[in-house]
Amino acid sequence: MGGRALRTILAFVTIVLLHYSVRPFLGWRAEPDFLTVALLLAAVRMRPGSAAVTGFLLGLARDALLAQGFGSSAIAFAVVGFGAAWLKAAFFADNLALNGFFFFLGKWAYDLLFFILEGRLGGIDLAIQLGVWSPLAAAVTATAGVLLLILMRPLLQASPT
């Protein structure tokens, strides 16, 4: 395991910890999803299959804290991780705006998959959630992801090939 992989793991763990330590302080209706940011930052540095497995495990951990829809996050994160790793050539560049858009798309895609698979919401509620709250949460997540990218630039300096 090289230094790049270690740095990636360190960044991943740090962001996952932020999810459970910073997020409760915010208490917003549209909150930043640090787990999505962590998965996307890690996914672009690994193969799609590994990203899918990482997403699956991360989603399973998130599902364990949910009252219902156990497995939904696992599937959604697996798909998002695989997609992020597959699209890394297109999206991963040293451009903050592009990375922000990447985070936005990843979070929105996750919400789309999760709420459909969970099946708790339906009809107009699902439409409002996916049309209003999910984009808002995706925007907040993208902002948080960009901030983290700036803060962790020394840690994540090595670019993928």
């Binding site: 996952v16 910890l17 459970y20 330590s21 910073v22 997020r23 409760p24 302080f25 208490g27 193969r47 799609p48 299959g49 590994s50 899918a52 497995v53 997403g55 699956f56 989603g59 399973l60 951990a61 599902d63 364990a64 804290l65 829809g69 156990f70 497995g71 939904s72 696992a74 599937i75 697996a78 798909v79 695989f82 790793a85 597959w86 698979l117």
Partner: protein
């Protein structure tokens, strides 16, 4: 190389499909299998993260509580301030109601607006106009006293000049009706710009500080008896044949909220009893307080007198005891003492004894005389000295006198008896 890449791609796809399959599998698990799995994950892998989340939420809860308490405190402080202003407004309105009850008729209550900008042009806008019967030159009053005069009247509102206005004039007098003059705004510098002047007071009429100044009713606009203010001090004016006084106004412009506009007819009828009652009440209260002070002073003085008298009596009793002890000592020295005189017959006893006894009695008499003098000086009953000097028996009787005798009127002083003279000699 290309084959390896294709293999890796297929492998990635297989992993994705496998993950998706597993996901759907765990999602389809029945609750009795799914819940233990979730619980195991929570208790093992997620335990530190859950603990971290709980700490964060507790901290956030503490911050929220602190914030809500701060908001509550701010809200309470705001409410306290509002309550204070409401209490002041309530008091003003109560005073206004009381004044309305005393006026009974011929007045229109109004709200005085723009009082805060009164410093600029010294006018206020009243919320009543000609529709309510307001006419120009109507007096505007407040529970504290005179405010000003209606200047301009519109159907629904009117403008009034208040006393700091340079056109304000009112014929005034003191409460006794001895001094008359004209009150106008004192156009001085900033510290005194919110005061009034009483001008044209006859030179012989000297007013003391604190004298209440009322409207005299001579000008025809303001009825007689409205408080204007109180005298602060006399001021120097170019006219030497009259006196001018600086007046502290009864009404403060910044406190103007609710006022009353008097109808001209009501003004013509007079309002002398409207403000006189509080003034009379104040003076009565002052008189009662002064009388109670006087009674308390007299009681204290009487108590001090009684204490002084008691001290004098005790001193006399001690003197009498001292006088008896020396007279007994010579009798003990003589082998065949003569029969002791009766206790009550002190004069006879003294006459029957020889020189040493008389010498010993000298200091006793001197001390008795001194105490008596002190007692006389300190309003002790006159004549007590004479009675006490007649003998120890009388002194003992005085000692047993109850204290209530101290306040009784006693006979005039009696000249000191011979024992005093003999003591001095």
């Amino acid at each position: 190389m290309a084959r390896a890449g294709r293999f890796e791609s297929r492998f990635d796809l297989v992993l994705l499909v496998g993950c998706a399959f597993l996901g759907f599998f765990v999602r389809a698990l029945p609750p009795h299998l799914r819940d233990p799995l979730a619980s195991t994950i929570r208790r093992t892998v997620l335990a530190p993260l859950v603990s971290l989340q709980r700490t964060a939420e507790l901290t956030r809860g503490a911050l929220d509580t602190y914030e809500s308490r701060t908001i509550s405190l701010d809200s309470l402080a705001l409410q306290a301030m509002e309550a204070r202003s409401l209490a002041a407004e309530n008091e003003t309105l109560r005073d206004l109601l009381a004044m309305g009850a005393r006026l009974r008729w011929g007045f229109t209550p109004a709200e005085a607006l723009s009082a805060s900008s009164a410093a600029e042009d010294f006018t206020v806008t009243l919320t009543v106009g000609s529709n309510a019967g307001i006419r120009p030159n109507s007096p505007v009053v407040a529970p504290e006293g005179l405010v000003g005069m209606v200047h301009t009247v519109d159907p629904t509102m009117s403008l009034a000049i208040i006393w700091p206005h340079r056109d304000f004039r009112v014929s005034a007098m003191d409460a006794d009706g001895n001094a008359f003059g004209i009150v106008q705004a004192h156009l001085g510098r900033e510290p005194e710009s919110y005061l009034l002047e009483l001008r044209g007071v006859a030179y012989r009429s000297e007013l003391k500080e604190g004298t209440l100044i009322l409207s005299s009713g001579l000008g025809g606009v303001y009825p007689k008896g409205i408080p204007i203010g109180t005298v602060l001090r006399e001021i120097e004016t170019p006219e030497g044949w009259t006196r001018s006084y600086l007046i502290l106004p009864a009404v403060r412009p910044q406190d103007l909220r609710a006022v009353m506009v008097l109808d001209p007819q009501r003004a013509n009828e007079g309002v002398q009893h409207v403000w006189s009652r509080p003034a009379a009440r104040d003076s009565t209260t002052r008189r009662i307080v002064a009388a109670s002070d006087s009674i308390a002073r007299r009681a204290a003085q009487a108590e001090a007198d009684a204490a002084r008298r008691q001290a004098a009596i005790d001193s006399i009793a001690r003197g009498a005891e001292n006088a008896q002890q020396p007279s007994a000592e010579p009798r003990a020295q003589t082998p065949s003492p003569p029969p002791a005189p009766a206790a009550g017959d002190s004069q006879a006893g003294r006459r029957g004894t020889q020189g040493p006894v008389r010498q010993d009695s000298a200091p006793r008499d001197t001390s008795t005389s001194r105490d008596t003098a002190a007692g006389r000086d300190s309003t002790s009953p006159p004549g007590a000295a004479g009675r006490e000097n007649r003998g120890s028996d009388s002194a003992v009787r005085r000692d047993s006198t109850p204290p209530r005798d101290s306040t009784r009127q006693l006979p005039p002083p009696v000249p000191p008896p011979d024992t005093t003279r003999s003591g001095r000699s």
